[in-house]
């Protein structure tokens, strides 16, 4: 540690602290040189360097300088303010300084990590320090805003993650709104028969949780609904929810199925979404027996009554509870919540995109999700695994990595498909006795009890061929291939190409972000990764937070995840929300707008522009006036004011121009 002091005794006394960040910064930036440079800048009274400024001894340096009266403003040149601005503001406050007489220069992300040349890095670091020093001169002492937190929470998406988060919060006494866009909650898990690696019956562990949601007095469940608007900020969100018309009065329906029986369609007409289109359903339906809420829904696109009005409407007569209302219209509900948890899950890869796998072209090629329905005892075949001709398959091929680990579709590994492929292999073997061939690139089974499950499958004599399937075709080369689907792949462990004739193929499709993930992200003002998964605040240290305070993530919407991980994350997200509510208030940046009366010409341009109605007009003074409690600091009015009267704390013209001046002067 070295110190360079100048003896300036001006009112404004700035301390500059340059951090080495271990060697993250110092391996590129000549830190001592920047310290000597900073010492000569105007108003700088202290200029120091330290290995880790964020560590206690680093913070102590600043505090000691404040206490000893050497400085009253500080510049720390280190990492991104996203990381440590709060830390150092706190440091200032604890030593009796004002936390806002502080400015950070980011010489790690913006300099050392992205610059190859050491000299250039040092130069750039110095210009950023110069800019920060120039700026901090114009900082004003401010007080942070404290705003109370609304105690209710919104959970979006009723898969296992959303369900678990909602129940955790509700059990803690919080009021929860659970918004699910499908007619029932349950998500993907509701479709499975068994779950890996323990082979628990999926319904047996999920149904009780679904019923608990329905019964919980703290939970308002809005199924068949979507969030259409989000306003406000952490602790105080205003959310608008559209409740799509299900043409059934939810409070009256008891799920007796009479209407479905009575519908003029004698049999199903539209592909049944819940059963992955393996069977058809009627316009009026209940997706599955354990649906929650257990309330019928009428699909307006296919119901003749709704479409044309010319239907005998036998459903209405059949309903003894008068629950059917074909004239129902959508309903918009507005709610206020303090925190939001997004748990919108994933969708599976469209197997048709890989032409060589013949999905949609040959029969008896299924996606894994279709097979999940087929093995489900409550599914369309009653749990029977059968071919189109009704027979049991004698040989089944399971193709891993369909739409994963492939530059042309998705580069990432979908993480759960190796394990669910093993699960399906076991179930197929158990139900049909067929020979089962797993074609895999790498077997990925990290997790408690997962490798053991793989061992079990190996012992069950399932075939494992290490090779990505090249093609699935119906042209034959040998008599035993006649009438079969032929899977061609290299058995890479042996180094020969194999042609394996099978009766049925299961494509283990990868997990993809929901198709509307980008839109949902925009709605909630959070970012997505390049693939479209919701972006967490920090991949290791803030895995359920987002860059928007008060919005948390749970489950597969953040990236491919199995049920245990989804539930763990949902618990974590609920805990984060509870922590926020429990504290009861949030501290907001004091970045509100203010009018400089002497400059305001009274043109009233700003008044209508403020999206929050925070500006009013003072007729007496003939100037505009900002209500600090309503202003959200969006800056719209500041940019619009023709006379430059409107300014915003933390971003005044002086501050911004002097910062620019600092960079330019240096160069």
């Amino acid at each position: 540690m070295s110190t360079v002091g100048t003896g300036s005794n001006d009112k404004c006394k700035i301390g500059v602290y340059v951090c080495h960040c271990g060697i993250n910064i110092s391996s590129k930036v000549d830190v001592s040189k920047t310290v000597r440079f900073a010492a000569k800048l105007p108003h700088v009274t202290v200029s120091r360097e330290y290995k880790f400024m964020c560590a206690d001894p680093g913070q102590d340096l600043i505090q000691q300088d404040i206490r000893d009266g050497r400085i009253n403003r500080a510049v720390v040149a280190s990492c991104s303010p996203l990381m440590h601005e709060p830390t150092f503001r706190n440091t200032m406050a604890e030593a009796g300084g004002n936390p806002f007489l502080f400015q950070m220069a980011n010489i790690r992300e913006h300099v050392s990590w992205v610059t190859l040349d050491n000299t250039a890095a040092t130069e750039k670091a110095m210009s950023l320090i110069s800019a920060a020093v120039e700026r901090v001169v114009f900082h004003q002492p401010l007080m942070p805003n404290r705003v109370p937190v609304h105690p209710d929470v919104l959970v979006v998406g009723g898969g296992i993650a959303g369900i678990h988060a909602a129940l955790t919060l509700a059990d803690a006494g919080q009021k929860v709104y659970l918004v699910e866009r499908e007619p029932s909650i349950g998500g993907h898990m509701a479709k499975f028969d068994k779950t890996f690696p323990t082979l628990d019956c999926s319904a047996c562990i999920l149904t009780p949780k679904m019923s608990a949601v329905r019964a919980h007095s703290n939970i308002t469940l809005w199924s068949y609904s979507e969030v259409i608007g989000v306003d406000g900020f952490v602790g105080n969100f205003k959310v608008r929810v559209r409740r799509k018309p299900r043409y059934i009065i939810e409070e009256r329906c008891v799920g007796c199925l009479d209407c479905i029986e009575a519908c003029i369609y004698k049999s199903g007409k539209v592909p049944d979404e819940f059963n992955e289109g393996l069977v058809k359903r009627k316009p009026v339906y209940i997706p599955f027996p354990q649906a929650t809420p257990l309330v019928a829904v009428i699909d307006a696109k296919t119901c003749i009554g709704i479409r044309t009005g010319k239907c005998k409407m036998t459903c209405i007569d059949a309903c003894e509870r008068d629950a059917i209302d074909l004239n129902q219209s959508e309903e918009i509900n507005e709610i206020e919540v303090g925190a939001i948890i997004l748990a919108t899950g994933f969708k599976t890869f469209n197997a048709k995109r890989i032409y060589r796998y013949g999905y949609g072209k040959y029969s008896n090629i299924y996606t894994s999700l279709e097979l999940e329905r087929m093995v489900n005892a409550a599914g369309p075949t009653g749990g029977e695994i059968t071919l189109k001709n009704g027979q049991k398959p004698k040989a089944v091929g399971i193709v891993h990595c369909v739409g994963s680990r492939d530059n042309k579709t998705n580069k990432y590994c979908s993480k759960v498909c190796c394990m669910y492929s093993l699960k399906l292999a076991h179930l197929i073997k158990e139900r049909t006795g067929a020979e089962v061939y797993n074609f895999y690139i790498d077997m990925r089974t990290p997790g408690k009890g997962y490798e053991e499950f793989y061992d079990r499958l190996l012992e069950e004599n399932v075939h494992f061929i290490r090779g990505r399937v090249a093609e699935i075709t119906d042209w034959v080369m040998t008599p035993e291939e006649e009438g079969k689907l032929v899977i061609r792949a290299e058995d890479t462990l042996v180094g020969v190409v194999r042609r394996v004739p099978v009766d049925m193929v299961v494509l283990s499709v990868g997990l993809e972000p929901q198709p509307d993930a980008e839109d949902v992200g925009r709605l909630f003002n959070i970012s997505c990764t390049r693939e479209g998964w919701f972006l967490e605040r920090h991949p290791k240290l803030a895995p359920v937070s987002t860059f928007t305070d008060g919005i948390f993530l749970a489950g597969a919407c953040q990236g491919p995840k199995d049920i245990p991980d989804s539930v763990a994350q949902a618990g974590a997200a609920a805990a984060e929300a509870l922590a926020l509510i429990d504290r009861g208030y949030v501290v907001l940046e004091p970045n509100t707008a203010y009018v400089q009366d002497e400059l305001c010409s009274g043109c009233k341009t700003c008044i209508d522009l403020c999206p929050y109605g925070a500006i009013s007009f003072d007729d007496e003074k003939d100037t505009a006036k900002v209500n600090g409690a309503l202003c959200k600091g969006c800056g719209t009015c500041v940019a619009s004011c023709p006379s430059g009267s409107l300014q915003q704390y933390l971003f005044t013209d002086d501050q911004i121009f002097s910062e620019i001046k600092g960079v330019i002067l240096y160069a």
Binding site: N407, K408, I441, E490, T492, G495, V496
Partner: protein, 210 residues
């Protein structure tokens, strides 16, 4: 094959050429080969892997590992019919067909391709034919190929030749372009590049002829 031809299932570090992968990957987009995940899609797609001594996937692994001798003397690269099935389906977008070409060229330059194997001989004949006269004379090419590899097959092919002749699809006339000089001039500029420069280029840091 057996143990007589191959040096068994062990390679000592001294058997390997660590720079081999660099040589091969110096072709345009060749660095892609380092992203191979050994999935075998290429081999599964390849209509010829059935006849190869190493599958296309193994060739990539061997290039990465520096198995220069094994790769250059293999039949695999020569059996490759340039059908591009591997290249278009590789999940890592590795242009395997181009890599096969690069290995073939290196094998010819270093003279280590499988001897008496007709494919490199055909390539040579074709090359000379075209270098000489600008065009390939199909009939003459086939004749020379048979003479150089297996003259006995001439009889075997006689029937085919006769039928081609009869339908006007075969001639032993030497095809040629008019402006041979023009073509010679073009190729001459590249001659040096092709023999020396591109060798340097293919083998950065190595002496020519090593």
């Amino acid at each position: 094959m057996g143990y007589a031809k191959h040096r068994g299932k062990i390679r000592f570090e001294s058997d390997l050429e660590p720079d081999f992968s660099k040589e091969i990957s110096s072709i345009p987009e060749g660095e892609q080969l380092f992203s191979c995940i050994q999935c075998g899609t290429c081999s599964g797609m390849c209509p010829l892997s059935q006849y190869m001594d190493y599958t296309p996937r193994q060739i990539i692994a061997m290039i990465r590992g520096g198995f220069k001798n094994d790769v250059l003397s293999s039949y695999t690269t020569w059996l490759c019919a340039s059908c591009y099935s591997c290249a278009v389906e590789c999940p890592k977008e590795i242009k395997l067909t181009d890599i096969m070409y690069a290995a073939k060229r290196l094998a010819i330059r270093e003279g280590v391709y499988p001897k008496r194997f007709p494919i490199p001989i055909l390539a040579h004949e074709f090359f000379k034919n075209v270098d000489d006269s600008g065009r390939n004379s199909e009939g003459r090419l086939i004749l020379r190929l048979l003479l150089r590899t297996n003259p006995l097959r001439l009889f075997n092919q006689a029937g085919l030749g006769w039928r081609l002749l009869k339908t006007g699809r075969f001639s032993l006339k030497k095809e040629s372009i008019v402006h041979k000089g023009e073509l010679k001039n073009i190729l001459k500029v590249l001659e040096k590049e092709h023999m020396v420069k591109s060798k340097e280029e293919l083998a950065p840091g190595r002496e020519a002829g090593s």
